[in-house]
């Protein structure tokens, strides 16, 4: 067992004139869950396809589970492509059996596992129905079962949550967490920053075919901290004025105060205690993933409704 489940070094992929991925380095330590984040068209899917050796890089090397991505290694990966696809005319169970057998499982084992998963996701009654009779969401669940069926060491999920309703998103999230608890390494791509904030240990941000930054999410946020302090308290705010803070920024019940200019966090706290202010909240604000992304990629994400709301508590 090498340390990394996936290791990309200097990977570049061009399609004609267009460079889809440029000089990309990435290491995913085993057992972690990494979010590959970026707007649409930034090169996420191309990167994933190169990891799965569906596309070959023009330059650079790809290592998967400690070696070249041959079929033996790829069959220990559970891969959910961005473009969802199922054999519409096949029965649900038969389709899962086919996928399992293709990856070297025996018929009996794959049948039993597939049934367990179908029961778990509430699809057992559909096992012998044709896939085309299922709703889109159910088809997506069947496809997800297809990716985890063979107990992979690495899960690669390309935009796994798109097209799912909130309830099923939660179901999927809990399964992803559970897989991670079992020690499975997980790589998933998304353009939904708030989802990534909830799930990821590590993130890798890409924009315009290039990696912007990557690392442990907590460390990243600490490093990216801007020095804003959020406080909430009972009573009036005259004590703030005495510290020389005039017109503090109000966000809901909280006051956002820029640190510095003689207002250090420890001093602010000491004064609050001395003034017997009833503090409800005192926090060094961390930037949201979206803010970090915008700061580094220099362009707002074109996708609407992103996680813009304040810091994480």
């Amino acid at each position: 067992m090498t340390e990394h489940a996936v290791q990309l070094s200097g990977v570049t992929k061009r399609f004609g004139e267009h460079t889809a991925v440029a000089d990309f380095d990435l290491q995913i330590p085993r057992g972690t869950i990494l979010g590959l984040l970026g707007p649409n068209g930034s090169g996420k899917t191309t990167t994933i396809r190169m990891i799965m050796a569906i596309l070959l890089p023009d330059r650079g090397t790809v290592e998967l589970l400690g070696g070249s991505p041959d079929f033996a290694r790829r069959n220990r990966v559970g891969y959910l492509p961005e473009e969802r696809g199922v054999y519409e005319k096949m029965k649900v169970l038969e389709q899962l059996v086919f996928l399992g057998e293709l990856r070297g499982m025996t018929r009996q084992i794959v049948r039993r596992r597939a049934m367990e998963w179908l029961e778990r996701l509430g699809l057992e009654e559909w096992a012998n129905k044709k896939v085309q009779q299922l709703s889109k969401g159910m088809q997506q669940k069947v496809q997800f079962i297809g990716t985890v069926l063979h107990d992979p060491d690495l899960l690669i999920l390309d935009e796994p949550f798109s097209g799912l309703d909130p309830i099923n998103q939660d179901v999927l999230e809990s399964i992803v967490r559970e897989q991670q608890d079992k020690g499975t390494t997980i790589l998933f791509s998304t353009h939904l920053m708030d989802q990534a904030e909830r799930l990821c240990e590590r993130v890798c941000l890409i924009s315009r075919s290039r990696k912007v930054l990557d690392g442990n999410l907590k460390e990243l946020k600490r490093r990216e901290r801007t020095g804003t302090i959020a406080i909430e308290f009972e009573g009036d705010d005259t004590w703030l004025a005495r510290l020389g803070i005039t017109n503090p920024q109000r966000v809901d019940d909280a006051y956002h105060i820029e640190a510095g200019r003689g207002v250090e966090p420890d001093r602010l706290l000491a004064v609050a205690v001395a003034e017997r202010v009833m503090l409800r909240r005192f926090e060094l604000l961390e930037p949201s993933l979206h803010e970090i992304f915008v700061r580094h990629a220099g362009q707002p994400d074109p996708e609407p409704a992103l996680g813009v709301a304040g810091g994480v508590q």
Partner: protein
């Protein structure tokens, strides 16, 4: 290899259990038998005339014999007194009292020509039967003038070549059987390669269109996937053809004793010689396998190039032409061999299944040509499989517009 087997089995089972397969398997022989039956029925129906036929004998020597002869082959003909006059007879025809009438005159005795007067021309069967009866009667009459009727009859019936074999014996029936088997075989090869090839194309295209292929090729190499597909559809094809051949054999085995029991006049021994031998069936299998793999790999490549049904319709045209040209050429040489250059055209691997098989069965070409065509087909198969495999590998993941010829060449060159 296990993966190839998994793909093969899926492809086979998913196809064989469809309604389409079951219907096609049953419908094809039913349709064939039905068509033959229908055409036989119609020709009999056409012969069974509701209206009367008449015969006017101006010679006074032929009438009764001809009428008797026609009655023997199923025509009730009224022998009209020659005094009635042809104008009166024409009137009867125009006023629909009779359908038509036949006039025998001196020219009939001299040359065997006679008039059939009616509104509609006689059917081919009727014309042939009438001619036969009249000529037989005239001959009989003329021979009786010459004496020694029996000997002359023999001579007139045609000298007969009696073949004294020094090698293996091939009777006339065997020759006819060869022609029939060759023709039917070429026909079967044409349709199976066309239909099963189209199945392969469709299967590739479907997998590409519903995007399953991306998951599948992350577990199995495109080459194996293509192989599994082609083998799967091929197994389905063999099953189907096997059912047909089996049914035909069963009908033959049960039918011949039935014929023997009901129509003692039929020479059953000769009839059973009409059945194709094991040799020509074995040869058919070899040509089917080589031809099917050759064409299905081409169809697979076409499927991988396209993203939509419409594109595929257009893109498969060149491949279809490769099938249609030999079929048309073969139609001009049903007896086995046509123009000499066609024997050489039959060596072209893509033409071989349809053109070489009938030649091989009839024995129209030397054995070394048959062997050479098989070697060439096998070589071509390796070539097309290589090229098709490369196109397939790149093509199945491509969406959007069809590649240009230059892009195709680049796909093939890509390592």
């Amino acid at each position: 290899m296990r993966q190839v087997w998994v793909v093969l089995r899926r492809e086979y089972i998913e196809r064989v259990k469809t309604k389409g397969f079951i219907i096609a398997t049953i419908a094809m022989p039913v349709l064939m038998i039905g068509l033959i039956g229908l055409s036989a029925f119609l020709s009999i129906q056409a012969e069974r005339s509701e209206r009367d036929l008449a015969l006017v004998d101006l010679t006074g020597q032929l009438g009764e014999t001809v009428a008797a002869g026609l009655e023997a082959v199923g025509y009730d003909v009224e022998l009209v007194d020659s005094d009635v006059g042809l104008q009166e007879m024409d009137r009867r025809v125009t006023e629909d009292e009779i359908e038509a009438y036949v006039v025998l005159d001196d020219l009939t005795i001299q040359e065997g020509t006679f008039a059939y007067r009616g509104n509609e021309a006689p059917g081919r069967v009727r014309a042939a039967l009438f001619e036969n009866v009249v000529v037989e009667t005239v001959l009989e009459l003329r021979l009786s003038f010459a004496g020694n009727t029996a000997g002359l009859r023999e001579l007139l019936a045609g000298g007969r070549l009696s073949f004294e074999s020094l090698g293996e014996e091939q009777s006339e029936m065997e020759r006819v059987s060869g022609i029939a088997t060759g023709f039917a075989g070429a026909f079967l090869l044409y349709f199976t390669m066309l239909f099963y090839g189209a199945y392969v194309l469709r299967s590739v295209l479907d997998e590409k269109r519903n995007r399953v292929v991306e998951v599948v090729v992350s577990s199995i190499s495109p080459w194996r996937l293509m192989l599994g597909k082609i083998l799967g559809v091929g197994s389905m094809g063999l099953t189907q053809v096997g059912i047909w051949v089996g049914c035909a054999a069963l009908i033959g085995l049960l039918g011949i004793p039935m014929i023997a029991a009901n129509w003692p006049a039929v020479d059953v021994g000769e009839l059973s010689q009409l059945m194709p031998g094991a040799g020509s069936l074995g040869l058919l299998l070899v040509f089917f396998l080589l031809g099917y793999f050759l064409y299905s790999s081409l169809f697979a490549a076409v499927g991988a190039m396209c993203s939509t049904e419409e594109e595929a319709q257009q893109a498969q045209f060149p491949v279809m032409m490769l099938l249609i040209i030999p079929f048309i050429l073969q139609m001009t040489s049903i007896e086995g061999s046509g123009l000499p250059w066609m024997d050489w055209a039959a060596l072209f691997p893509f033409f071989s299944p349809i053109m070489m098989y009938p030649r091989a069965v009839v024995g129209a070409v030397p054995w070394w040509m048959v062997a050479t065509s098989m070697v060439l087909m096998a070589a071509a198969l390796i070539g097309t499989a290589w090229v098709a495999g490369r196109i397939y590998r790149v093509g199945i993941l491509m969406q959007g517009k069809r590649p240009t010829l230059r892009e195709l060449v680049r796909w093939i060159k890509q390592a």
